[in-house]
């Protein structure tokens, strides 16, 4: 992930089809059931919001932050540094996208 940032090229991700996953909010967490594998994942803020932001179409971390910024404060829930430092916010969301992709909850698009 870090290498991609320094290259200036961010990986892009897309949401799963709507019927591929069941999500249920549980406080700061969301329980997600992947129909294809039958696996259950419990994800914590800001991951559920990031998955939701991808619902508007494929995006990289920068575009996800732009979509989130209107109604979600990354800094207050996760990392205070992310508020004042755009690089920190980018790294935070980039890592979350990478982890969500490893769990199969979002799909990384090949360049």
């Amino acid at each position: 992930v870090a290498a991609n940032f320094t290259d200036g090229v961010l990986p892009r991700y897309r949401a799963l089809p709507q019927d591929a996953v069941l999500s249920v909010p549980l406080g700061m967490f969301s329980a997600c059931y992947l129909r294809r594998t039958g696996q259950t994942h419990l994800i914590v803020q800001p991951a559920p919001q990031i998955v939701e932001a991808l619902g508007a179409g494929p995006a990289d971390a920068a575009l996800v932050i732009e979509r989130l910024s209107s109604d979600y404060d990354l800094a207050s829930n996760e990392d205070p540094a992310a508020a004042s430092d755009p690089g920190a916010a980018l790294a935070l969301v980039g890592e979350a996208l990478d982890e969500l992709s490893a769990l199969g909850l979002v799909t990384r698009l090949d360049d």
Binding site: L26, G27, F29, A31, Y33, R35, G38, T40, L42, V44
Partner: protein
Amino acid sequence: MAVSMAHVLTLTVGPATFRLHSPWREPVRQMRALYQTYPQPDPANVVADLTVRLDPATPLRRWLRPSVRIAGDYTLPEAQPMALAHGLLAAEMGMNLQMALGWRRHLILHASCVEKDGRALVMTGESGSGKSTLSALLGERGWRFLGDEFALVDPVTGAMLPFPRAVSLKNSAIKVAMDHIPADRFGPELAGTPKGTIRHLIPRADAIAAMDRPAMPALLLFPRYGHAKEARPVDPAEVFMRLTQASTNYVALGEAGFVALTRFAQTVPGVALDYPDTQAALDGVDELWRTLPS
């Protein structure tokens, strides 16, 4: 005409009908006596949901130093042979095993359950947490006993279904229960089992008579014995996570299990209750129940 060598008992507990086979007479006789107030349909007229077999560990052992091995539709590799004197325990453990692994109609939580005012209290925790003893004692104090080992969640309605098997009391819990409950409700004492001394308690007749009546869950407790009295809320995500671990068939049920368990975690408040002794636990339950929003 076929001649059966086996002793057979068919027994209905809540939604499940079990068929118990044994080459020996004694475990079946003991089970028939222990469960004499439960429906015992004629084996010729009923198709059982689950089968429990008590097999001789080897054919010869049926006659020499008899020992039993639990079998049935599902078997566990670690199911050890037991002395025939503990055949009743083997039958009980066999019913647990078949239910835990074979039942698909409901989500099974390793939990006890009681009901009052039409609403259910579910208690889950490790062995030794006191959930079984608490459910037995509450069942004598104005609550309806639904089960001490498995709590069944209806995946469609979210209701708790009774599964009021005999309560398996262990070691010091036996005396606690016998101080409060008439002696004729207890089975024989089984000393020197792999779990220590065990004695079964038959639920009250009204709990058995109402074993087809479900109740919506209103409170989930995580009791913990041996600590200063304290109650703390457990948030829905932790409730969900701990109940996936406490369920014997969550994975097997797939999406139905997910829907049932997330609904439970969203709608049923969770409380961790530490207690130093039984009376403190019973008082703690009463306090929590009184302050529950209606």
